[in-house]
C-alpha cells in the first residue's frame, strides 16, 4: 500500500512541469477565452470587463469584414489544398523508386517547408514586385504578358499568396505520400505488370487507392491550416488591398492586438474553433470509414 502511494507521488512529480504548462497556457486559456467572449474587455481603456451576453457574437455575425475574411479563407483553401496535394502526389510518384539523384531532388523539393515562413514571405514579396523589373514580371514578359501587380491587384493578391504557399508546402505532402507508398506491397505492382499495366495505370489503379488514408489526412490538415493562415498575409499584403486578403486570423490580430478588443477577438476565436472542430470531426469520421472499407 505504502509502495503504491509512493509510486503515484513520484509519477505525479514527473508529470508536474509539463502539465503545469498545459494548464496555465492551454487549459485555462481555452476556458477563459470562452468566458471572455461574453464580455466587453479592452485592456487599453483599463476598465473592468463588462458582461454583454451574446452581443459579441451577434455583432460578429453582422460584421462584413468577418464574412469577407471567412470567404477569403475558403477561397484560398480551394486553390491551395488541391494543387499542393496533387503536386505532392505526382512528385512522390516520380521520386519513389531508386535512381541517381533521387535524394537530391527529394531534398530540393522539401527544403521550402523547413525554412522560416517569415523569410520566405519576404523573398516572395520581393519576387512578386509590381515593378516591371520584378523577377516574376520579367519572367512573364518572355511570354508577352504585361507586368502585373501580383500583391497590389485585389483580384490577384490572394491567388499570389496561394501560389507562394503551394511552393512552400507541396514538398511536405510529397514526403508523407512517399512514406505511405513504402507500405504498398510490391506484389500488387508485379501482378499488374504481368497483366501488362502501363505506369500511369499502376499509379491510378494501385498507388492512388492505396494512399487514400494519407490523402484524407492531408486534405483535412491542409484545410485546417488554410483557416489559420496569418504570417504570409501579414508580411506580403497586410490584408490588403482593401480587405481582399484579410483572413480570420489577420482580423483577429487586428481586433485583439491592435484595437485590444479582447472580448470581440475571443468570440471570433471561438467561431474559428467551432469551424476547426467540425473539420476535425469530419476527419475522424472519414478515417473510421476508411478503416472499415480497407
Amino acid at each position: 500500500m505504502r509502495k503504491t502511494a509512493r509510486e503515484a507521488l513520484v509519477s505525479y512529480s514527473f508529470c508536474l512541469p509539463a502539465y503545469l504548462i498545459f494548464t496555465v497556457f492551454i487549459f485555462i486559456p481555452i476556458l477563459w477565452s470562452f468566458i471572455l467572449s461574453f464580455f466587453d474587455y479592452n485592456i487599453l481603456t483599463l476598465s473592468a470587463p463588462r458582461f454583454v451576453g451574446l452581443y459579441n457574437y451577434t455583432k460578429l455575425i453582422k460584421d462584413q469584414v468577418f464574412w469577407v475574411s471567412l470567404r477569403n479563407n475558403a477561397l484560398y483553401s480551394i486553390v491551395y489544398v488541391p494543387i499542393s496535394l496533387i503536386l505532392g502526389f505526382i512528385f512522390a510518384l516520380l521520386l519513389n523508386d531508386n535512381f541517381p539523384g533521387r535524394n537530391f531532388f527529394r531534398m530540393a523539393i522539401f527544403i521550402p517547408s523547413v525554412v522560416s515562413l517569415v523569410i520566405e514571405s519576404i523573398i516572395w514579396m520581393l519576387i512578386f514586385s509590381a515593378h516591371p523589373s520584378g523577377v516574376i514580371n520579367r519572367f512573364i514578359r518572355i511570354f508577352g504578358i504585361p507586368p502585373q501587380g501580383w500583391l497590389s491587384d485585389p483580384r490577384l493578391a490572394l491567388f499570389s499568396v496561394a501560389i507562394f504557399m503551394i511552393w512552400r508546402s507541396f514538398g511536405y505532402n510529397m514526403l508523407l505520400y512517399l512514406a505511405a507508398m513504402q507500405n504498398i506491397p510490391a506484389e500488387l505492382y508485379e501482378v499488374a505488370e504481368l497483366d501488362g499495366a502501363k505506369p500511369w495505370q499502376k499509379a491510378l489503379h494501385i498507388t492512388l487507392p492505396m494512399v487514400k488514408p494519407t490523402t484524407f489526412f492531408l486534405t483535412v490538415t491542409s484545410v485546417i491550416d488554410s483557416f489559420q493562415i496569418f504570417t504570409p498575409i501579414y508580411i506580403m499584403t497586410g490584408g490588403g488591398p482593401g480587405y481582399s486578403t484579410t483572413t480570420v486570423v489577420n482580423y483577429l490580430y487586428q481586433k485583439g492586438f491592435q484595437e485590444f478588443a479582447m472580448g470581440y477577438a475571443s468570440a471570433m476565436s471561438y467561431i474559428l474553433f467551432i469551424i476547426l472542430v467540425i473539420l476535425t470531426v469530419i476527419q475522424r469520421k472519414g478515417f473510421r470509414a476508411e478503416q472499415i472499407t480497407l
Binding site: 514527473f14 508529470c15 530540393a108 523569410i119 508580411i235 472542430v277
Partner: protein, 285 residues
C-alpha cells in the same frame, strides 16, 4: 525490334522524368538562390536585381549584422540573432526534459489518473493556438513576461506532441531492464536519467530538431509579446528591417540569409530524425 523500341521508350521516360524534376527543383530552389545572389550585390535603390550579380560585394553581410536600429544605436541584427539562439536553445532544452519526464511516467508507471493525463496530453493537440492566444497573452502579462525573452520561452517548454512521442518511445523498452535496476535499489531519478533517457536518444533527436526549427521560425507570438528592438528574435527584427529599409534589398537579403543558415544546417544535420518525426506525427492524426 520490339525490344529496341522498349529500350528507347524507357530512355525517353527516364530523361523526361529528369527534365521534370530539374524544372521543379529550379522552381523550389531559385527563390533562395536569388536571395543569396541579391545579398552579394551592392544596393541599387531600384529593383533591377538579376540572378547573376554584375557587381560583387561581401559588404552587405557585415553591414547588415552591425546595422544599428533607429531607436537604439546599440541594437543590431546580431543582437536579434543572439535572442533567437537563446530562445531556441531554452525552448528545446526544457521541452526535451519536461516532455520526456511526463512521457516516462505515463509509459512506465502505474498510478491513478494515468489514462486521464494521457488523454489530456492528446487533447492539447486538438486545441488550435489561435483560439487560446488572447487569454495566453493576458496570462503572460499577469506573469510579467511581456517584452521579455522568458515570455517567448515559458509557454512553449512542453507540448502534447512531445509527451506523446516520448511515451511511445518508452513503451517500446522491455520492462525487465527497469525491474533489475529496482531490485538493485536504484532511485527513480537514477533510473529515468541514467538508464531510460539514453535509450530514447532517437526520439530526443527528433524532438530536438522539431523544437529548434519551430522556435527559430515562430512569429505570431513574438509579434504580440515583444516590442523592444533589443529583445526581438531575428524573424521579427527582419520584418521591421524590411519596413524601414524598403529599398536596401542587398542588406535585407543578407540579413535573411543569415537567418536561414542555422535552420538549414540544423535540418541537414538532423534530416533522418526530422522525417521520422514527420511521419510519426501524421500517423497519430
Amino acid at each position: 525490334m520490339i525490344h529496341k523500341k522498349m529500350e528507347l521508350n524507357k530512355a525517353l521516360w527516364l530523361s523526361l522524368r529528369y527534365l521534370v524534376l530539374i524544372v521543379i527543383s529550379a522552381f523550389t530552389l531559385l527563390p533562395f538562390i536569388w536571395m543569396l545572389s541579391v545579398s552579394f550585390q551592392p544596393d541599387k535603390g531600384i529593383e533591377a536585381y538579376g540572378f547573376i550579380p554584375k557587381k560583387f560585394t561581401f559588404q552587405n553581410y557585415p553591414t547588415a549584422w552591425n546595422y544599428p536600429r533607429l531607436y537604439d544605436p546599440k541594437v543590431t541584427l546580431g543582437t536579434m540573432f543572439r535572442n533567437s539562439v537563446i530562445v531556441s536553445f531554452f525552448v528545446t532544452l526544457f521541452s526535451l526534459l519536461f516532455d520526456s519526464m511526463a512521457g516516462y511516467a505515463l509509459a512506465r508507471k502505474r498510478f491513478p489518473g494515468r489514462g486521464f493525463l494521457f488523454w489530456l496530453a492528446l487533447t492539447t493537440l486538438m486545441i488550435p493556438f489561435y483560439v487560446t492566444v488572447v487569454p495566453m497573452y493576458l496570462i503572460t502579462m499577469k506573469l510579467g513576461l511581456i517584452n521579455t525573452l522568458a515570455g517567448l520561452i515559458v509557454p512553449f517548454v512542453s507540448s502534447g506532441f512531445g509527451v506523446f512521442l516520448f511515451r511511445q518511445a518508452f513503451l517500446s523498452i522491455p520492462l525487465e531492464l527497469e525491474e533489475a535496476a529496482k531490485v538493485d535499489g536504484a532511485s527513480d531519478l537514477f533510473i529515468y536519467w541514467r538508464l531510460m533517457l539514453p535509450l530514447v536518444k532517437p526520439t530526443m533527436a527528433t524532438m530536438a530538431i522539431f523544437k529548434i526549427l519551430w522556435s527559430w521560425n515562430m512569429f505570431f507570438w513574438p509579434l504580440l509579446v515583444i516590442y523592444d528592438y533589443a529583445k526581438m528574435p531575428l524573424n521579427l527584427g527582419l520584418t521591421i528591417f524590411r519596413g524601414q529599409y524598403v529599398t536596401r534589398w542587398g542588406l535585407l537579403t543578407a540579413g535573411m540569409t543569415i537567418g536561414t543558415l542555422p535552420v538549414l544546417v540544423a535540418f541537414l544535420a538532423f534530416q533522418k530524425w526530422f522525417i521520422r518525426g514527420l511521419t510519426a506525427g501524421a500517423l497519430k492524426g
